[in-house]
Point group: C2
Chain length 276, copies 2
Amino acid sequence: MAGTNSERQLLAEGPAIILVEPQMGENIGMVARAMANFGLAELRLVNPRDGWPNEKAQATASKADHVIEATKVYDTLEQAIADLNFVYATTARSRDNYKPVRSPVFAAQTLRTRFRAGEATGILFGRERWGLTNEEVALADEIVTFPVNPAFASLNIAQAVLLMSYEWMKSGMEDLEAVPFQALEQRPSTKEQLFGLFDQLEEALDSRNYFHPLSKKPKMVDNLRAVLSRRAFTEQEISVLRGVISSLDRFSRNSPRKGGFTRSGKEAPTDDSADQ
Amino acid sequence: MAGTNSERQLLAEGPAIILVEPQMGENIGMVARAMANFGLAELRLVNPRDGWPNEKAQATASKADHVIEATKVYDTLEQAIADLNFVYATTARSRDNYKPVRSPVFAAQTLRTRFRAGEATGILFGRERWGLTNEEVALADEIVTFPVNPAFASLNIAQAVLLMSYEWMKSGMEDLEAVPFQALEQRPSTKEQLFGLFDQLEEALDSRNYFHPLSKKPKMVDNLRAVLSRRAFTEQEISVLRGVISSLDRFSRNSPRKGGFTRSGKEAPTDDSADQ
């Protein structure tokens, strides 16, 4: 629908994701996929339990090959962040230290600002079971933590990376309500088009003595028009509704419209063509 | 550190998550966990491939038992959303229809507004391999789609649920920069405290003929003070720095401070106690 992958822009820039002593290859692969989903590409591993490369990681990365192939492995966290200018540590719990604690939105905006200024940045994620040590957190500049359900706060490592990657992507958007594709374009109807609908419907109802007793007709017309005015219709919607009224008005159950042609053999009037 | 689970607030309200013909039990479990992480609790399954209950789902739900146990199963999507007032369909691609297309931020705010007004709402997620049919999307009120890397747009179903659940949680926060815990409280230093640091350091350096030649002293003092003023220190930081200067000034490598006591046997001055 939108062309092949090779025609689409591959985003691959931004902070490095640094996993400290990751245990499960499956998680490393899901981290790579989450990064690729939101345009990050630089994965660093500190002393992964099962070594590297890791077949399970490749399997769960789901074609995020450019991330997996560029992954670098380090013996220590100090080596893994040596070339960076600014580093966040992710943690789910208070650390009794003096580092500023940031929300993901704030942290992503900070990373974007520093990225635009040419700084090399990174985000640390701890082990699956027990996160980062205090000594590892101490190597970072600031802390980022997630706004989770207090009674169910444990995030999977790939989910934590996904959220930071997603906020990174959003931090580069000018408009947070922007979407990559739109509904089919529709023009709002004019009042004249709306009045045409009123007239057609009221005439069809009038001819059937719908407005009964006649003394109540003005109030009934008011109510009917209120129903049809409450939500602004588009031109297409007015056209659909007029086709519906035509069909109900001009044909009966015993004598329905036949295959797009009227009984005289002529094509149906154009306002039927909007039936759908 | 923050008490047991039973003491913490369990958030369990908001839109229903509706999975249409989910295939993998593992994914259903990860969906339940993601929901629980961000305070959602109502999971509905339409015609799950492997039936329900599902052991693999229970295993990957990682103790989101309250979600798994309350999960309801339906034969059709129409039945699954019959009691709802407003429904979003998630989709990664344009559908050639007239439904409004929203970002996750916009959709979550809409859901929150409707939730506060007492409406029952839901979010549809399609099959792992090929999403929702056009007919299923047509049953929803609006579409929500994610701002992904154009060349790597395929989100895992549990990741998609995670992102919507996360945005739901954020839509209830008054301040997007709020965090659940803070750094230890620190008071910024006063200028008098900063000047005390200047004086101590400059006196210690002066006594060593650091300012040489003397004609350059004013410029050297300026530079030194600029280094120490660029980032506002807290009271604690000033205290640490003064302890460092004391230590360098008063002890030598050949004659270091001994075990917290000076050589005279008296306790060290209090400004050393801030060494850490």
